[in-house]
Subunit: 351 residues, 2 copies
């Protein structure tokens, strides 16, 4: 299925990622139909067609799908069954199934040749305590298997902490316990895969997090070129195994000895790829939409060094200095309400 | 009046210029409310709010204006009286008044220090014949004073042609007769002026026309740097005289001896500035919206050489090669119907 200009792409989710996908689709002549429960969501402000409905509303999803040529999504917690029932979804629902569950995801990454930190599935307080003990006294992070993002649904455990109590505090739901990795720095791979299987990779940015939320992404990174090439090839293997169509991101820990461990994957455009808007020949958003449309991918090479800075909560007040700054490119998301921890926009510092 | 993120800018006109203005406003966090008689117009597909109404519908214009912080427009044939009645319009209605009438515009350009080709207002067939004769046997172009664009409302006269008959053929409406200038090439100045009077200029592109329609714009151009500086200063004088806010374009003929004559001005973003989307640090669309918002202007320096190629009528079929071409950036306008002479999109060939 290859789209033509004036065809419409359905986007499940109207947040900032959907917004930037819609903005990238417009110059390609592709219309967007956004489905989101909030009529004032960021992507709703820049699209041709809208459906205001819950993500779990199968009738609304089916109706939207019937009006578009292909459906994509901006977040991985789309209902798998609902997505599977739609006629054409890119990336395919298998990517959702894998990335919606941290344990399945970790196993899948390992099976695709991406090493990960030691991780155990834990379903009871006792299992959590046992697993924590088995890590031999190092720190660990207990994470719910499903529905976590931006540090939510996580609990950091230091040596001596009570893992069983932490499990209960997270709601007693199925979790994974991951051993904490003493990494030197973090990077990510952001690649795009077309319907014909061809893959293009962006330069790997160095990422910094605080409070479980991405703060900055920067190219160039200190990652050696040959390591970057290896990580990109590993990411391509993951995409290949999923017969993936679109942009796929994997976050990696780089250890002091230079080896790398996959942390998590996202079957979508990713915050650590926002630098590509000004830093790459074509952005991750454009290449996702090209892939979803069945088109060839655009070049991904870097055209300028960029440091992407997230505007989280009150950081959004920095929009003024970004507007006045000679090398800053502002990207605001149109969110009406500023809340602590909420991603309100980002600035790409160019050059 | 200085806007804040999440404020709304009204745009009169939902064509491709309005569309690209809306796409440039979104990353700044500014919403757009588009007024156009066509509910499926290009800009309608990418904006937050819509009013479907005739441009002359004063009640609809007033209602739209009451819902936005400031109003701008994408074309110069907005009803002057209707625009004057709105609370805040940028650029101010005086720019409309001047550019809606080719004779007033030519006089105004001359009074601002911009030389023009010999031009005469003609209101009767006899006056047309007399003026043509006075040009001494060279070619001339008869143009309606009002409502012409893309070569419409024009008639080219070669030596020996019947100017009186041409006048009647154009409908007997007030016209200007312009002597044909044997130019070496054409360029344009695209500048932006902020509320505080500061001005930034883009590099001057070389333009080519065919059939009265712009075909290509290219930077760098063969224009000497000092001439470019002079033209940019002349354009700034025009903007100053209008207390102008926004992007202003002037098209120029460059004569074989290097002197330049102003051809026409446009109180808006301009087709010959489309190259700035990939070729300049910030595009003409962003800087127009920044100016209209009362913000500082972004840098205008060139970051890559670009040849902009318009896709007119069936040219739009070239979208495929642009998608597959490694250095092409596609910009389609979302127009449902392809018609001869209709601007369907453009390609920026980068590098």
């Amino acid at each position: 299925m290859k789209l033509s200009p004036n065809d419409t792409i359905g986007i499940i989710g109207g947040g900032q990622l959907g917004r930037m996908l819609a903005l990238a689709a417009a110059p390609l002549g592709l219309k967007c139909h956004v489905l989101d429960p909030d009529s004032n969501a960021p992507a709703m402000q820049v699209c041709a067609e809208r459906t205001v409905a819950a993500y779990s509303d199968k009738a609304a999803l089916a109706d939207m799908a019937s009006r578009v040529a292909v459906v994509t999504y901006e977040f991985e917690n789309v209902d798998f069954e609902a997505a599977s029932a739609l006629p054409l979804v890119r990336p395919g629902p298998r990517a959702l199934e894998v990335s919606q569950d941290r344990w399945i995801e970790k196993r899948f990454l390992a099976e695709c040749g991406c090493p990960t930190a030691n991780t155990m599935p834990v379903a009871t307080p006792e299992a959590a305590a046992l697993a924590f003990k088995s890590f031999g006294g190092g720190g660990a992070i207990l994470k719910t298997r499903r529905l976590g993002y931006d540090g939510k649904g996580q609990h950091r455990l230091e040596p001596g902490d009570d893992a069983a109590a932490a499990f209960t505090a997270l709601g007693g739901v199925p979790c994974v316990l991951e051993s904490v990795v003493p990494f030197a720095f973090e990077v990510s791979t952001v690649i795009a895969r077309a319907v014909d299987g061809s893959v293009k990779a962006y330069e790997c940015p160095q990422n910094t997090h605080a409070g479980g939320i991405l703060r900055t992404s920067q190219v160039p990174s200190p990652l050696p070129d040959d390591t970057a090439t290896t990580l990109q090839a590993q990411a391509a293997q993951v995409a290949e195994a999923l017969d993936y169509v679109g942009v796929l991101a994997i976050e990696w820990f780089v250890l002091p000895d230079g080896s790398c461990l996959a942390n998590e994957m996202a079957p979508r455009v990713h915050n650590s790829g926002h630098w590509t808007q000004e830093g790459a020949f074509a952005s991750q958003f454009e290449n996702h939409m090209r892939a979803v449309a069945g088109w060839t991918l655009a070049p991904t090479h870097t055209i300028a060094p960029v440091r992407m800075e997230n505007l989280i909560g009150d950081d959004v007040e920095r929009w003024r200095s970004a507007v006045d700054g000679g090398s800053s490119r502002l990207h605001l998301y149109g969110k009406a309400e500023t809340r602590p921890g909420r991603k309100m926009g980002h600035i790409n510092h160019v050059g």
